[in-house]
């Protein structure tokens, strides 16, 4: 199977007819997101996100590499999204499909190109070494709207992640282990998120965060990337039926509200997790009777 099972005509008509009466299949209002649940794993930058039945794991990792020749002051940041048969039986292992290409492009444009992660702060020694930050997105359950879910998870992961401390001494780069020095948070310049809308019935009905079935019944989509300050950093009307200009203006305002809400929710979970970590802390590691780590320089 290499295609998602199509909606039956009856199902499609049911969804469209219900929307005409302002009812969505799961009882949400047009501008409501599904229940959002974010949790962090044991390691820094390990995020498990559930948006309704869509489930995503994001892992952030870092390593020291050589910067690009043309940008000696910049570190590297990459977003890697690979869809596997785990998320949906329609996706084939080891093969790219349209959703993957589209989602990767959207995430790149919203998070990477808007410079949400300050890559200049990742430079260790000009032209010689820098940090390479990598975000791996694992879609483990797919029920529509992976771009929004992945975007929230990556941004939460970047804020949660701590990279090892590194210093330059006598022209040599020394990377300290997590036990030796308190790891450093990444430098986040702003927090953009994507908000995806789908249009139905000649763009009379526009809903946010569509489920897979709603996505299949939709006639077009509209993706808005916007941060908490209200700066629109990405807007795409990729395909499908034309949308009214006023719809885009109105929905941009809706998206702004949503982004503020979601960022506040992420912040809350993040603070709770960091407080929990601070409590456990390094108490056991910093005990006097432990073996001393030998410094190799």
């Amino acid at each position: 199977m290499s295609k998602e099972a199509q909606l039956s005509i009856a199902e499609r008509d049911f969804i469209l007819e219900a929307l005409r009466e302002n009812v969505r299949l799961d009882g949400r209002q047009p501008d409501d997101y599904r229940a959002l649940n974010i949790s962090f794993g044991e390691e820094y930058g390990h995020v498990n996100l559930q948006l309704g039945k869509t489930n995503i794991i994001v892992r952030i990792s870092s390593e020291v590499t050589k910067p690009r020749e043309d940008r000696p002051f910049d570190g590297l940041f990459n977003i890697n999204l690979e869809l596997t048969a785990m998320g949906s039986p329609a996706w084939e292992n080891g093969r790219t499909n349209d959703i993957e290409a589209y989602a990767t492009n959207t995430l790149d444009r919203i998070i990477r190109h808007s410079n949400a992660l300050d890559t200049e702060s990742l430079c260790i020694l000009k032209g010689v070494s820098c940090w390479s930050i990598r975000a791996d997105v694992h879609v483990i359950d797919y029920d529509g709207n992976i771009t929004d879910a992945a975007c929230i998870a990556i941004m939460a992961g970047l804020q949660h992640f701590r990279r090892p401390d590194a210093v330059v001494r006598d022209g040599r780069v020394i990377v300290y282990g997590v036990e030796q020095r308190v790891p450093v948070a990444l430098n986040i310049t702003h927090k953009p998120l994507s908000v995806t809308f789908h249009t139905f019935n000649d763009s009379k009905h526009v809903v946010v965060d569509a489920t897979l079935k709603e996505e299949q019944a939709a006639e077009g989509d509209l993706v808005i990337g916007i941060n908490s300050a209200g700066d629109v950093c990405y807007l795409s009307k990729y395909a499908g039926a034309p949308a009214d200009a006023m719809v885009i203006v109105n929905k941009t305002n809706v998206a702004w509200e949503k982004v503020k809400q979601i960022n506040a929710a992420v912040e809350k979970v993040l603070q709770a997790d960091l407080a929990k970590r601070a409590k456990i802390g390094m108490a056991d590691e910093s005990r006097a009777e432990n073996d001393r780590l030998v410094q190799i320089e």
């Binding site: 199977m1 290499s2 794993g41 044991e42 390691e43 390990h46 039945k53 489930n55 794991i57 892992r59 990792s61 890697n80 690979e82 596997t84 048969a85 785990m86 998320g87 949906s88 039986p89 084939e92 292992n93 080891g94 990598r134 791996d136 694992h138 483990i140 359950d141 797919y142 029920d143 036990e179 456990i280 056991d284 590691e285 432990n290 073996d291």
Partner: protein
């Protein structure tokens, strides 16, 4: 047969009454999870604590995902790896990949590393998994010939598996048991017909000649040789992957140790029923696999048990 099954579950219902009071998501997790948060710190403490770490059993749960036909998560506290497995079966294979063996199912395995792109190491381990699982899947059962059994394993927790450089032993052996267990449990969860179950273990021989079980990736680097054994529920040796320098006597010792780790004290009685004592069974890995599946069956059939 049905009566026997019922009485067995009745007995187990009595034995395991407290399980009902636990919330659903914790059902198949052992109480040993309490030790987990301190694990990282314990690793750095003296050997006495290390022996406690090794006593912490693995944690597994079945059928968590919605879209896949079957799924399982497996976490091994000793090595720190956490694996998520999903099985889609029987599924129509694209193109003509079924043409080679038209009379049975094709098993496909895909390993997705957590923080890198898949490479040679993953392809190698996929081959091992495919050969082990391909042999126990009953691919000629009704509905399976010419279809695919697609297993996807994602490494969602634990250290990155390092790329092999010839000076070190291959780090992929350290993760192989976890992958095998996750794969097997996902197959069970997807109700793929299997001829037997199995369990696998990683054993390492240190410089002083000690045989150590479930080594962490750092300990594995220091080991002289690494061995992965998979032993079936019927005591067959299914897999032997060894690396490093060792002689035949060492290998024999390691094999015996592996058998005792996987089989434990469980003994098959004359009628073929395996007696399951609460204490001894969970000490062996085969017992652990059984218990995980049993817990799942128990919660799946809760409606039946309640009506008895």
């Amino acid at each position: 047969m049905r009566d026997r099954l019922q009485t067995r579950y009745q007995v187990q219902a009595q034995l395991r009454r407290p399980i009902k009071e636990r919330p659903a998501h914790e059902k198949s997790q052992r109480e040993t999870t309490l030790l987990l948060p301190t694990l990282r710190t314990l690793k750095k403490l003296p050997n006495f604590y290390l022996s406690i770490v090794n006593m912490v059993g693995p944690i597994a749960s079945l059928s968590q995902l919605n879209r896949a036909d079957g799924s399982a998560s497996y976490k091994c506290p000793a090595t720190g790896y956490s694996i998520l497995g999903a099985v889609n079966a029987p599924i129509e294979l694209p193109a003509r990949r079924d043409a080679l063996k038209p009379e049975e199912a094709t098993v496909e395995v895909f390993v997705k590393p957590g923080t890198t792109t898949a490479g040679v190491g993953e392809r190698h381990v996929e081959g091992i998994l495919r050969s082990v699982l391909g042999k126990i899947v009953l691919g000629r059962e009704k509905g399976f010939p010419r279809r695919g059994v697609v297993l996807t394993l994602a490494i969602v927790g634990g250290e990155n598996v390092e790329r092999g450089d010839s000076a070190n032993l291959s780090q992929y052996l350290t993760i192989l048991p976890a992958l095998l267990h996750a794969g097997l449990l996902a197959m069970v969860s997807a109700s793929v017909p299997l001829s037997m179950t199995f369990s696998a273990t990683l054993l390492g021989v240190t410089k002083s000649g000690d045989i150590v079980r479930d080594l962490s990736p750092t300990a594995a680097k220091a080991a002289v040789s690494l061995h992965v054994f998979a032993v079936s529920s019927k005591n067959h040796l299914l897999l032997n992957e060894s690396e490093g320098r060792f002689d035949f006597d060492t290998w024999e010792l390691v094999r015996e140790r592996a058998l005792s780790v996987c089989q434990g004290e469980t003994a098959a009685s004359a009628d073929g029923d395996v007696t399951m004592g609460e204490g001894t069974a969970s000490a062996s890995l085969n017992g652990f696999i059984r218990e995980t599946v049993e817990d799942q069956v128990y919660s799946d059939y809760a409606f039946k048990l309640d009506s008895i």
